[in-house]
Amino acid sequence: MKFGLFYEISVPRPWTRETEKTVYDRCLEQVKLADELGFESVFAVEHHFLEEYSHCPAPELFLTACAMITKRIRVGHGIVVCVPEFNHPIKIAEKTAVLDILSGGRLEVGTGRSATWTELGGFRANPDETKKTWDEFVRCLPQMWTQERYSYQGRSWSMPQRTIVPKPYQKPHPPMWVAVTSPGTEIDAAERGMGSLGLTFGGFKEQEQKVNNYRKIIRNCEPVGKFINEKVATVNFLYCHNDDAEGVKTGMRLTGTFNYLASQLLAAREAYPTKSYPSLGLLPSLRREAAGPGDDSGAPEGIAIGNPARIIKAVKAWESTGADQINFLLNALETVPQEQVLNSLRLFAKEVMPHFQKNESATAAAGGR
């Protein structure tokens, strides 16, 4: 089991230039520490107009800053929106290549299509089209990264022959992922040989079923890239404290704040009925799960908040579903003071991570994946 960070970059009102800068600075400080502590990766969303919830419209810039201050942590788009009104595919190919070079080959490319009317409507994108354009983009990207000369005549975009430069540092190209929120998207990921970047986690049984299904289908996939990225990541909240009650209390404040922020956004399905968005997506699912049934402590089952023992139990449960990685949300609206966030990361690295590094070594020694 590997661990990563997942950034929405939530900024409370009032928005002064100092509050925005402070939040970004704090995120970078967390990433620098996570790099030193042995976290595997840092993912950043691409969101637009999601006031307070996410002020991260240019993840490639944030991730570049992350790469510049770290040595080994991988930097990931979680995700880049593959909808032409948001991003032209040539620009995606170019910018990801540059980020891969600047980071010394540490880029992960998550792909997706946005799940809110707030964003889709803002760019005047048609919700009926986003799944189609995503599919087209993810087939094009590896070709643009690897072919010296490239031309394309497609459904949603086209280009005459040009040389797209530079090419990524990683050869043949960075690993590709799909944001999995709507039911069945894990199948899309598996069929295309892409990693499943879970942004909701449902119950343990549901997750296990999804992972099994993913691993079964990916065996016979037709990869869009030059290699298969068979990985399953899920998302969670993290607040680790030696005092369990304090950890749960602060963690619940974090999840509650996230829930409030997420609830204000307008899910694509609520505003615009379409088969393209069969579920409400990330936000309501995370809300439901973060408020789901738990034990007497008040901590919902599977949420990584509380003392190290409680978090180890939660992580082991996710590990047993077959997930390879958990990406953690650390804050929302700065509700957890920075020093506490950093201490939580330190404690997690010291007390929780070693339990899973052993398992990984044992799995590798046994010839496992």
Partner: protein
Amino acid sequence: MPPRFGTLDIAKFAKAAGTINDYKTEALTLKGVQILELHMEIDDDPAIALLPATMHPAIPQYAIFNVIHAPDSDWGPFTIAEVRVAGRTGVRPRGFVLRSYIDNDDAAKALSGRWGFPVAKADVNLRVLHDRIVGRVKLGGKTVYEVEEQDRDSISGNDIQYIASMHLAHSKVDNKLVVVQVDPEFVFHKAERGRARVVTLDPEAFGATASSLNVMNPIMACFTTADMTLPKVRYICNPELPAMQGTTKVAA
């Protein structure tokens, strides 16, 4: 930073509110109703004055325009039109009813008395044409509300998600103003989606002003045929408090 909550002037708005007699009304199913619904983005900051403190705004804020024709009911056929402002109670999406107009006195009495809907009598109609579907309200011969769906395409009823209603009402049970939640259930027989157009809107007829109900950007229109069940009243809220603090369960 405190969350944003509605700033509706409750006392002023209460003048047009319905009066709910008790919270023990039975559920009622209306068969084969036709429902025209439009979603329109509205000017964000002024529209917060159209939500009670019970609710906080969606991002972006949008209004829901409904026209519902029931071909048959205990009170005969009726057509009702309303304007709601979408928001959130706690973490749940809800639409706050500004005002409703109906063409049937008996239905008006029942919808107000049993569920507390803020209904008033008017000339309301829903016309299904080949090129468009039109919903219209006339007050004293003057059109105060006309909305259309254009360029209709079939979709699945499974894709439709109507959100529950909230409305201000005088409660005879508690002898005070309450916000009543009504979350109808639907069995869809047919669904279409098209472009939304608001042809005419007199905001004052819906207790709003030109600035507070400033329609800006169409999202979509949909038209369905469904069986619609108005359930028992399950929750009421204190209009002066956020829903998280001021919600009371009145039925299972």
